[in-house]
């Protein structure tokens, strides 16, 4: 026994943090996929996208979503920090280790850290842009027409779908019940599907002619 341990009232903290990590991760995946469906509504025509944007506007859903999202992001990052190789020496060990054992899932963990930090930065920029700009077909079109923003969104799409896919895989693997390799394949197909929808949506925006002078 150690003094600090004796003074710790609840030994449940690690368990609770693990749960926060999982639940916040699942909520973020849910958000990511819902977001994708909403954005892909442009595939059904500008009026569908406009209707959804109008619906979000009418009930002030945009600021609510942003605030809730920031909380979930914070919870996820806070919870995940404890597992990360946070110190420089640990980083070096983790990368050297992955190289040494040539193990796919160990590599995907390191990519998970890289994409995690990438998403943090990119999503921040995206959220600021949407929060101050609002949502409409012409605004999205305007951003996608900028080659810098187009590349930005392509990278954000790739990073977030990869991160979500690996994160989901990890949850199922850790809790059991499913066959690992079948799971890998199923998630691979789902992720590919999401990426296809995402890139087609980007393509549609790129070639779009905004109807009615950009009012959505």
């Amino acid at each position: 026994m150690y003094l600090q341990k004796a003074l710790t009232k609840s030994i449940r903290t690690d368990f609770i943090v693990e749960m926060v990590q999982m639940v916040s991760g699942l909520l973020l995946v849910l958000f990511l996929w819902t977001h994708m469906v909403f954005v892909a509504s442009i595939l059904l025509g500008q009026s569908s996208f406009g209707a959804l944007a109008g619906f979000m506007d009418k009930y002030e859903l945009l600021p609510v979503t942003v605030v809730v999202l920031i909380f979930i992001f914070a919870a996820h990052i806070g919870a995940i920090m404890r597992h990360l190789p946070a110190r420089w020496a640990e980083q070096k060990v983790a990368w050297r280790h992955a190289k040494m054992i040539r193990h796919k899932d160990t590599w995907s963990w390191l990519f998970q850290i890289v994409t995690g930090f990438g998403i943090l930065l990119f999503a921040f920029i995206h959220i600021v842009a949407v929060t101050y700009g609002g949502i409409s077909v012409s605004l999205s079109k305007g951003r996608i027409d900028n080659p810098g923003f187009l590349i930005f969104y392509a990278i954000l799409l790739l990073m977030s779908e990869y991160h979500a896919s690996v994160g989901l895989y990890r949850i199922f693997v850790k809790w059991g019940f499913v066959n690992r390799h079948r799971l890998d394949r199923v998630l691979g197909v789902v992720t590919l599907l999401m990426l296809v929808i995402g890139f087609v949506t980007l393509g549609v925006f790129l070639t779009l002619k905004v109807a009615g002078g950009g009012v959505a």
Binding site: R12, F15, H83, I101, W109, V173, W175, G176, R180
Partner: protein, 243 residues
């Protein structure tokens, strides 16, 4: 067909002579029929370099002494046939354990510590009566316990574990597998909360990030992923109940 020539790239470092920096040394030997790495390493030591350090006892994958990284994959040298490997073979000692020199590591101290921390003994207040007939155990249950008991403590699962490599207090898949064995055993009177105190934390099951290098490496095929998931679910229930 003439035999292949095998090229070994073997990690060399002796902590007693730190002035000689860690490096890999190359040895060449002709392949023989049914040659294992155990045979090959002994040949190298006998014929080329008597200072080469590596561990062996049983040469039959029972003692767990010869775990090492073979072309990056952790396994037992005694059960690895050279014919299953390319002609270039790189050997490294298992990471995460104290390096004694070259391919030899101290797994014993680590396992002793893990045993103590997981309290690897039957906890009961029942007094043993040597005249009484032995208590019977259900066949299926004893087989389930045996599945976990098959662990030979080679340390391959710990060596490949990224968490074990950066968090020295993490008990690894073998530690969690050990706990699962006692959880299954009806003779152990520990309740879920007592187990929670042992493994319901970041040094135990909640420190596992699920990379499953352990499950991919166990040379004797203990179903580690299943054991980890079993303990995780049990400890989640215990954590839920805990006041």
């Amino acid at each position: 067909m003439s035999p292949r020539e095998l090229t070994f790239h073997i990690f060399r470092y002796d902590p007693e002579t730190p002035e000689v920096k860690p490096h890999t040394q190359t040895f060449k030997i002709p392949e023989e029929p049914a040659m294992t790495l155990f045979v090959a390493l002994n040949k190298i030591r006998d014929e080329q370099d008597p200072t080469l350090k590596f561990d062996f006892v049983c040469r039959a994958s029972i003692c767990g002494s010869c775990g090492m990284l073979i072309n990056g994959k952790a396994s037992l040298a005694c059960k690895t046939l050279t014919k299953d490997l390319p002609s270039d073979i790189t050997l490294f000692p298992l990471p995460a354990f104290k390096l004694l020199g070259d391919l030899s590591v101290d797994t014993g101290t680590w396992f002793r510590d893990m045993s103590v921390r997981t309290e690897s003994w039957i906890h009961t207040d029942k007094v043993f009566d040597e005249t009484a007939q032995e208590e019977k155990m259900d066949d299926d249950l004893s087989l389930e316990i045996y599945e976990a008991e098959r662990c030979i403590e080679c340390g391959c699962c710990v060596g490949v574990c990224a968490t074990a490599n950066i968090r020295p207090n993490f008990i690894g898949a073998t530690g969690i597998n050990r706990v699962s064995r006692f959880m299954l055993d009806p003779r152990d009177k520990r309740d879920e909360q007592e187990y929670f105190e042992v493994v319901g934390n970041d040094d135990g099951i909640f420190g596992c990030v699920g990379l499953m290098a352990c499950d991919d490496s166990c040379p004797i095929g203990v179903p580690l992923r299943g054991q980890l998931a079993y303990v995780r679910r049990k400890m989640a229930v215990a954590g839920w109940h805990r006041k």
